[in-house]
């Protein structure tokens, strides 16, 4: 089992400088994959999700090219070899 999690530059400092994290833990959903991220890189997870376990309002998570907002959210399935991409939403002032 191997899932790649691609980070935006703003999160590199919380991943010890890495731009891509590789998850070897068994996981079948985005939620499980992000939980695995949190085990190894808790500072990354703190910035992607709130303390209540919800993806932050202005953060987008993609599996391949599909946003989980338009799939099953955190319950969106992932498979071996998938790439999860975390992106800052196009918003701000």
């Amino acid at each position: 089992m191997s899932i790649a999690v691609v980070l935006p530059r703003a999160l590199y400092p919380y991943a010890r400088g890495s731009s891509t994290l590789v998850i070897d833990d068994p996981c079948s959903t985005v939620h499980e994959a992000l939980s695995a991220v949190g085990k190894h890189w808790p500072g990354v997870l703190d910035r992607v999700m709130t303390e209540q376990g919800e993806v932050r309002e202005h953060v987008n998570v993609f599996v391949g090219e599909d946003s989980i907002r338009f799939a099953n959210g955190l319950a969106t399935p992932v498979d071996d070899g998938d790439t999860i991409m975390i992106v800052a939403a196009v918003s701000g002032g």
């Binding site: 703003a10 808790p42 703190d46 910035r47 709130t50 303390e51 209540q52 953060v59 800052a88």
Partner: protein, 379 residues
């Protein structure tokens, strides 16, 4: 980027903006200022505090990334380095089902308990740190307050923006929220009572409810124990009994709408405000940037305009964007949404422009190095 290297007696001015923080440094005379920063570029900094309790010289900054959440950072070397920020320090407990939006107020605790620090946050809650700001816990008595379901957000969000500890009684504290109003604990935070008698809620059918007022700021000078001044969403008030009752003091101001309010650091009868035209036009009346000062606890107010623009000045000063230093000749400071910062080294009689084009200013804190602690509205 340079960082301040002040000596005792120098003056520091911490400025939080929508796009980062700045520190301005000067000596005791405060004629010339040096700018340092931006710190946390791109993040909003709604609260700053300076704390010398326990022999440290610590700056606190509440930072918020639009995308990645909010944190509280610490620096013990005037901004040159900041505390590691891997984990988010201020977190609501899971059972609350609440998530932190941002920290609106950082307030150092009692002088003889240098590790106690308070934080007021959005959504409305009070957090306490017992280790100098490293870890934080929500104050349960307020988190589970029976009024919570009826507190509603104002334009800036549902925030606890003002913390006024009683320096003579560790069990007593006044807090203010928008909306909700003023609350006080007399038992160390276990229970909280609404303290809004006499404060008008212009925007509600019942103009004088028990709670629900939109308090914008409370000012306090510890030299007059129990006296509070309140800038409301319409209305200026004074209390002489720790908020049990409030008296209207909007005597001779062009508008009693506004946000910022600052107590003089030495004279408990002197308070400063920056009136705004109305809730629909939140700019300085007549396009003149004027601070109003009372020196008799609100019986009358005088405009202060020497050195401030009096033409085409459509300015807004937000609730935490005013401060005072504790120099003998008191310094009064404020920042505007248009990114200007002004200061007075003579208690408001004359003003100088310190910064002219910062991002929108949301927080100003002044401190004298070696002088103690920059409290929000206290000496």
């Amino acid at each position: 980027m340079t960082h301040p290297a002040p000596k005792n007696g120098d003056t520091l001015l911490f400025v939080g903006t929508m796009k980062g923080a700045f520190i301005f440094s000067s000596d005791a005379e405060r004629n010339e200022w040096t700018k340092h920063g931006p710190y946390f570029p791109g993040e909003s900094v709604y609260s700053l505090a300076y704390d010398e309790r326990g022999g440290k010289k610590r700056t606190f900054a509440a930072t918020r990334s639009f995308h990645w959440g909010s944190n509280v950072r610490r620096s013990d070397d005037f901004g040159e380095t900041w505390s590691p920020q891997d984990r988010m320090a201020v977190r609501f407990p899971e059972e609350s089902k609440l998530s932190l939006t941002q920290v609106w107020q950082i307030m150092p605790g009692p002088r003889d308990e240098p590790d106690i620090v308070w934080a007021g946050v959005e959504p409305t809650a009070l957090f306490r740190s017992r280790d100098g700001g490293v870890t934080w816990d929500a104050v349960e008595g307020l988190l589970k307050h029976p009024h919570r379901a009826q507190w509603t957000p104002g334009g800036g969000g549902m925030c606890l923006h003002t913390i006024v500890p009683d320096p003579s009684n560790k069990n007593r504290m006044v807090i203010a929220m928008s909306t909700g109003g003023c609350y006080r604990t007399d038992d160390g935070g276990a229970t909280w009572r609404a303290r809004n008698v006499g404060v008008r809620a212009q925007f509600l059918p019942n103009k004088y409810p028990e709670f629900g007022q939109c308090v914008h700021k409370i000012a306090h000078n510890p030299a007059r124990n129990g006296r509070l001044f309140l800038q409301n969403h319409w209305g200026l008030y004074r209390s002489d009994d720790w908020g049990d009752t409030w008296t209207d003091i909007a005597n001779g101001v062009p508008s009693d709408f506004g946000f910022a309010m600052q107590a003089h650091p030495h004279d408990p009868d002197t308070v400063y405000i920056v009136p705004l035209q109305s809730d629909e036009f939140r700019c300085t009346p007549e396009a003149k940037l004027r601070v109003f000062r009372t020196r008799n606890a609100g019986e009358s107010w005088e405009p202060l305009a020497n050195g401030l623009p009096q033409e085409d000045a459509y300015e807004t000063v937000l609730r935490d964007a005013m401060s005072a230093d504790s120099q003998k000749s008191a310094g009064i400071y404020f920042g505007t949404r248009s990114g200007k910062v002004y200061g007075s080294a003579d208690s408001g009689d004359s003003w100088q422009n310190i910064a002219n084009a910062l991002p929108p200013v949301v927080c100003v804190r002044a401190a004298v190095v070696g002088g103690g602690t920059s409290a929000t509205n206290a000496a």
